[in-house]
Amino acid sequence: MNITLKEGIDWVGYIDWTVRDFHGYKTESGSTYNSYLIRDEKNAVIDAVKAPYVHKLVEHIEALTPLESIDYVVCNHAEPDHSGGLPGLMKACPNATLVCNEKCKVALEKHYDTSAWKWQVVEDGDTLSLGKRTLQFINTPMVHWPESMFSYVPEEKLLFSMDAFGQHYASAFRFDDEEPLDVILHEAKAYYANIVMLYGRPISQTMERAAELEIEMIAPSHGVIWRSHLKEVFAAYQKYVVCKPRPKVIVLYASMWKATEKMAEAILEGAQECGVEAQFFNVDSTHATRIVTEVLDCAAIAIGSPTLNNSLMPAMAGVLCYMSGLRPTNKAGFAFGSYGWSKRGGAAAVEEAMKEMKIDILRESIRSQYVPTEEILEECREAGRMLGKYAEQFAKD
């Protein structure tokens, strides 16, 4: 495996092939926790790995340089997938000083026993000379946490971008040109949608700052390193930060006895008649991770739930809670669902949640008492056609 980014700069992280649950994100392809070693007159490690794998990080460093020779450990982000290994790493490297910003220091002190650590607190724009190379620090609040920062090496045109541009993608290769581009771009999209979709505004600000730097290589803290397809991932992010819609419709539903499912199928048929891309997800068979990944770039969405205990289905409530926290923008749609006797439940609760998410409501919700009649199914088809036409038009504007 090629681990060398630039002469004297190597990947020393951990490939997590088996992780399938990353605080609720279903990581079907595993992940990596990327740490990097810069060997210069001074030696620096950029970020750590998850706590259980710190021995591998230490092993990888030791294969390249004695642990006593590590002068700095830079922490770009205090979240435990990158900071969990810091206590072990700081113990293993007796001469290392922990370099981070003030917010990060406060966060690390609230996570770990840091009483034995030496610190160097840096501010936005500060530089740290390693000899031939310099580390320049750029605060990037909310990309992904308030303390997040980038580390930039101007001499190498290399940006350590932490969670930004990352992918939960375990692979035998470390670079973007060693993997199929559509696969890693899809993983980057899933990562964006599930981790940082709500921070589109700060991310676009961060991208503007990054555009001022000369960058040849982006080394994120998850997944492959971008050295051949920076243009493509930048262009993708430019769309993500505004949830730029494609002409795509999503029908998302839960069902008990297949009444709401029949409505969902009719809406799908209507949308398909328009020739627009239409996707169909049952919350019981499709994980929320996939659903919000697809929601990111849809133009229109119909969401349905039957009525259970005068409310909506708990599985749908869970998906809507997750989705609303991630704050998708630029979406429109409507609610639907069946009921037995209480009109308060299902569709009404879904519509409420959609309004809360600021999804434009295009029509009144479609409700069916028990099994939908042919009349109601035709109403669903018609609503599906309307959704398809809307998606086509809206994505054009």
Partner: protein, 54 residues
């Protein structure tokens, strides 16, 4: 009327635009925003904002 910045996420409250999504009308001074208002970006309260001196 002064602008305020969120110490946590960097979001800026501009009294000229207010925060209409949370029911804060344009022209509302930061001091007049109800105490239960939250930063629309990151969710912290008014206590975590600092005045921007010009």
């Amino acid at each position: 009327m002064k602008k305020y910045i969120c110490d946590v996420c960097g979001w800026i409250y501009d009294p000229e635009t207010g925060d209409p999504d949370s029911g804060i009308a344009p022209g509302t001074a930061f001091e007049d925003i109800p105490d239960d208002w939250e930063c629309p970006e990151c969710g912290v309260g008014k206590d975590d904002f600092s005045v921007i001196e010009d």
